[in-house]
């Protein structure tokens, strides 16, 4: 039987490009199709990438890639009721993560792939597909092609899976709404700050972020879709209140939005089926453990593995080898480690109530008004009690995350 390519990769984002690079390195002939006019045209990320996975593919990535700034400061800001605010910053000059802007980054990454012979077809939209006994035919806006296997790297909405009948569920998704603003933080050029913000998405399950770029700042919120559905605030308003609440100056340069997979290790959708392997967001790969949200390194990691796995499958291995390889890699092992924290974070108390109780307690600590000051524990117990929360439950929940 004739094939136009060994494997079609749907989507030229981080997962798709990584898969194409590793497929070419394995001696395969992949074709990547991308709906945007260039890689990154339709991509939005909060904008912080842990670069270990990319480094294993491109060792000198720090010199070559258009990364924004290394993250050298980790800040947490908790906004509570009554204008109270708790924040702390941890500084460490390691270069394990960088802020990135995807329009620029993905374009560079795609050109790196094109350098080694990957063909990416832009402005190409997957309209349908037919599964056959020994292959799969893709119907695209620029004509049909027949391939042996397909890698679904189409992002969180998983175009291949949806064409084959899978539906998305609100409880497995977060909505990221982001603005790039012209504000530039006063920091040395080789330093950047990542701020996690809690408490400015009042009434909605979610959080916020602020990342320092080279000469812009990325700010945004991530909101559980199901809490938006049942809430009373419009997604479009949350980000504006958030920006106003942060008090950052500067012109808004771009307004964007994207869905974020929020499955967790225990609820992952199928990673492979029929002749399809899913990578990155399309496979639901995302880690959220209260300290970090990671998706990009998982997309790269799973993409690289998928490219290798396809070669093994063509050589006779069963498709399940893909999942086995993922389990042995950081991709699924890190997801599994984060699972407890992920579940704990789904506790509604995390959004509003714990923060308020904590600030209440700190307020009791810092307020010197002539009355006897309680100890910190006493203050915590009292404020949790006042807020109708169970302190020991809270400690257990928090313990799961830590």
């Amino acid at each position: 039987m004739n094939y136009d390519a060994d494997v079609a990769i749907v989507g030229a984002g981080l997962g798709g490009i990584s898969a194409s690079i590793s497929a070419v390195k394995e001696g395969l002939n992949p074709i990547v199709i991308e709906r945007g006019e260039y890689s990154g045209a339709k991509n939005v990320s909060g904008g912080r990438m842990y670069i270990h996975a990319l480094k294993s593919l491109i060792p000198d990535v720090e010199e070559r890639a258009p990364l924004e700034r290394p993250i050298t400061r980790e800040t947490y800001k908790v906004f509570c009721n009554k204008g109270r605010e708790l924040s702390f910053t941890f500084k460490e000059k390691s270069k394990t993560s960088f802020s990135v802007l995807r329009a620029k980054f993905d374009r560079w990454y795609a050109s790196a792939a094109e350098e080694i012979g990957v063909t990416i077809s832009y402005g190409t939209y997957l309209m349908g597909l037919q599964e056959e006994e020994d292959g799969i035919t893709l119907n695209t806006s620029l004509g049909d092609i027949r391939v042996k296997y397909v890698i679904d790297a189409g992002g969180v909405t998983a175009p291949v899976a949806r064409l084959l009948g899978r539906n998305l569920k609100p409880e497995h998704l977060m909505l990221g709404v982001k603005e790039v603003i012209s504000y530039v933080q006063d920091l040395p050029e080789d330093e950047g700050e990542a701020t996690t913000v809690i408490g400015l998405t009042r009434g909605l399950k979610g959080g916020g972020f602020v990342y320092t770029n080279k000469d812009t700042t990325s700010i945004g919120v991530t909101l559980k879709v199901d809490s938006l559905q049942s809430g009373s605030i419009k997604a479009s308003e949350v980000v504006e209140n958030y920006r106003a609440g942060l008090g950052l100056r500067g012109d808004v340069l771009e307004y964007s939005a994207h869905l974020i997979p929020y499955y967790g290790w225990g609820n992952l959708p199928p990673l492979y089926y029929n002749r399809v392997l899913a990578v990155g967001d399309a496979a639901g790969l995302l880690i959220s453990d209260g300290f970090v949200i990671r998706g990009m390194d998982l997309a790269i990691g799973s993409g690289v593995i998928a490219g290798i796995a396809v070669k093994k499958v063509i050589d006779g291995s069963p498709l399940s080898i893909y999942e086995e390889m993922l389990k042995r890699s950081f991709v699924l092992s890190d997801m599994r480690k984060a699972w407890k924290a992920f579940q704990a974070l789904s506790n509604p108390n995390f959004y509003g109530e714990y923060e308020d109780a904590l600030c209440e307690a700190l307020s009791r600590e810092f307020l010197v008004n002539g009355k006897q000051r309680p100890t910190l524990i006493e203050a915590l117990l009292k404020s949790f009690y006042d807020n109708g929360l169970n302190f020991s439950e809270a400690v257990k929940e928090i313990w799961k995350i830590v």
Binding site: K104, S111, T119, S182, D215
Partner: protein, 240 residues
Amino acid sequence: MTLNILVAFKIVPDETLIKISGDKVDLNVPVKISTYDKNAIEEGLELREKYGGKVIGISVGVNDRKTIREALAMGLDEVISITPKTYADALATAKLISEEAKGYDLLIFGESSTDGGDSAVGPMVGEILGYPVITYVRRVEIQDGFLVAERNLTPEVEEVKAKLPCVISVTGEANTPRIPTLKQIMESGKKKVVAKEVEIASSSRLVNLTPYFVPRKKVIIEGKLEEQVQKVVEILRGNL
């Protein structure tokens, strides 16, 4: 007769994606084949389909693999990519193209590029090579070693004839550039690209680039049609 055609195309920043922040202009944005240069490529391909021969592309500027592949996918037989080490103005670009342009029957350019838009490189190449220069062509035919073309010089339309070899520039109305199929895109990776880096001096210099922006009131008038009309009538009264 068969025709040997050289088509020049420029790789330019997509002007719709240029980033402007305050008084800064960021041109490090995705690149594309300059709009009317796609018409030049299409014209070359249509002439090849009609008369036979070869269509070679030439591009002076950034050697962007993605964009060059798009030009090849449209149907060019081969591309020569010349990257100057320093800024090359229109004249410097014309000199570089002229060096590669000998031996062709026809040289095709787009009417202007979407970056600088001097509309100069084509006529300059013609002058350097001593060929007839026919700009703003919207229709072209080959008759026994001669080229007959219709030029749109708004408000004039001129029909002219010149002996090959010659240089033409085509307008956007000359044709509709084709969109390659996925299979053509896959094939394009196998075609030949000759890439060179060169040194060339320019006699002009870009001093600076600033955003060009006239501030406006940006008032939105919504509501019932009668009310909208009333408001606009009042605005017009105050300004005429």
